[in-house]
């Protein structure tokens, strides 16, 4: 459980997940921000106004229909708590995460880890892009991993072999 060991339960994760129909249409942001902390770069980074917040210490709310899956919020989030999930492709789901480690090669096979850090499946690195963090002084590498169908809500990290 999050308050005890920093691992979200299945319910925690489902509460943040976009509806299945939206995921089938293409990449969409999933904001795993659990606490009211004084922080708002996700709101400011969103080009369509899909992410909103009542006040600085509120938990961000996302309108999944307005989200265009651009990943700017993924790069902006100081807590590295946002991932893009995409269930639109036949050959597998896609997960895009911010990655602050030595970068993998496109096409590389990796072990995919879930929120507990357990290996749950094999994945393939599909894309590595560098997007500006909100202040434009920094670029965050965003890595897109191809994972088996049904794994988009689980995979949040990967280990190189």
């Amino acid at each position: 459980m999050l308050p005890v060991d920093g691992i979200p339960t299945k319910e925690d994760i489902l509460a943040k997940a976009p509806p299945a129909e939206r995921m089938k249409k293409g990449a969409v942001a999933m904001i795993e921000c659990w606490q009211e902390i004084p922080c708002n770069p996700c709101v400011v980074s969103c080009p369509t106004g899909a992410i909103t917040m009542e006040k600085l210490t509120a938990i961000p709310q996302i309108d999944f229909d307005k989200c265009i899956g651009c990943a700017l919020c993924v790069a902006a989030c100081p807590g590295l708590a946002i991932a893009l999930v995409d269930g639109s492709k036949e050959d597998g789901d896609r997960v895009s995460i911010p990655y602050e480690f030595p970068l993998p090669e496109v096409g590389e096979t990796v072990d995919c880890l879930n929120h507990e850090g357990r290996v749950v499946c094999e994945g393939t690195i599909e894309k590595v892009v560098h997007l500006p963090a909100v202040n434009k002084k920094d670029k965050t590498p965003i890595v897109t991993i191809k994972v088996p169908k049904g794994y988009a809500l689980q995979v949040r990290f990967f280990k190189r072999r």
């Binding site: 922080c39 100081p78 708590a81």
Partner: protein
Amino acid sequence: MKTDVLVIGGGPAGMNAAIEAARAGASVTLVERQAHLGGQLVKQTHKFFGWAEKGAGTRGIQLAEEWSKAVEEHENITVMLSSEAIGLYDDGAWMIEKEGKLIPIYPKKVVIAVGAQEKTLPIENADIPGVYGAGAIQTMMHVYGVLPGEKYLIVGAGNIGVILAYQLAQAGAEVKAVVDVLPKLGGAYWVHVTKIRRMGIPLYMKHTVIEIKGTKWVEGATIAEIDEKFQPIPGTEKELDVDTIAISIGLSPLTDLMYQAGVELIWIPELGGLVPVHSENMRTNKPEIYVAGDASGIEEATTAALEGKIAGAVAAKDLGFDVNDEAIEEWKKELSQLRDAPLLERLRQGLHKLHEAAKERGLQ
């Protein structure tokens, strides 16, 4: 040497105090013990929370660069590096030691922003090489590019402990475990914890280190689960093959200079222990002394910077320089918004005690 405002400490609080006092027209001397400005920002590679409009998402290391540039470029500021304030003398001289020489400075106002020190772990063998402050490991790694060990145990799962675990992994080291005596997460932001959990770094809550192995240096450690009275539960011991143990069990303000200069200190555990009694304007019982940052009560870099701005501006204002009062009020508002998060309840209790004490003494 004479100066309007002497700022002691070149971290986020001190740099911002210097910038604001100088902006108001005061002549400022900033003394810093290290050979570089930035304070503990130079080890903070993670992105900061806060307002995107005010630089949230910026890494601490970038803030250190920006602010030190602003300090160095300001014509009203004289920076003295590798210089340490060692005390106040009866003639009003603040003695600065620089490379073995003593330099007296006669300031009209002083902002003390000297930061904090890491607490130590009171168990047997915790004094041998290999047991290091978490911040010390960050300094070695991020300032000098040196990893002091290969396999780590981190004691204390607050923000510094879990951020250190992530940073060690980035530097290519192995973190065998993070332990904490609390039954559940205390001061750490959950997003910092989730970052290390999804990488598979083990976190043991309700655990403590019961044995540090080695004679010349650390050669291993034993951790165990503890009961409600914080006593180890027999049979729950785990041996860890580690060569380094990082201690991140909290910070205490560095108050010795303040004490020597006659600033009143009070005991507020929620703020890290002994803290200087001060008002929201960062004034103390000594009319010429102001405080800011962790030295005035343990928080973090964003609030330290705001406190520094307030202290610098108020010191200049008290000297008769023209200062924008609205800006000071705005910084105070930003501080209270940052301190509004539910996680910071304990901090707010500490600040309440502090403000009551300041009010009782009529500090403005």
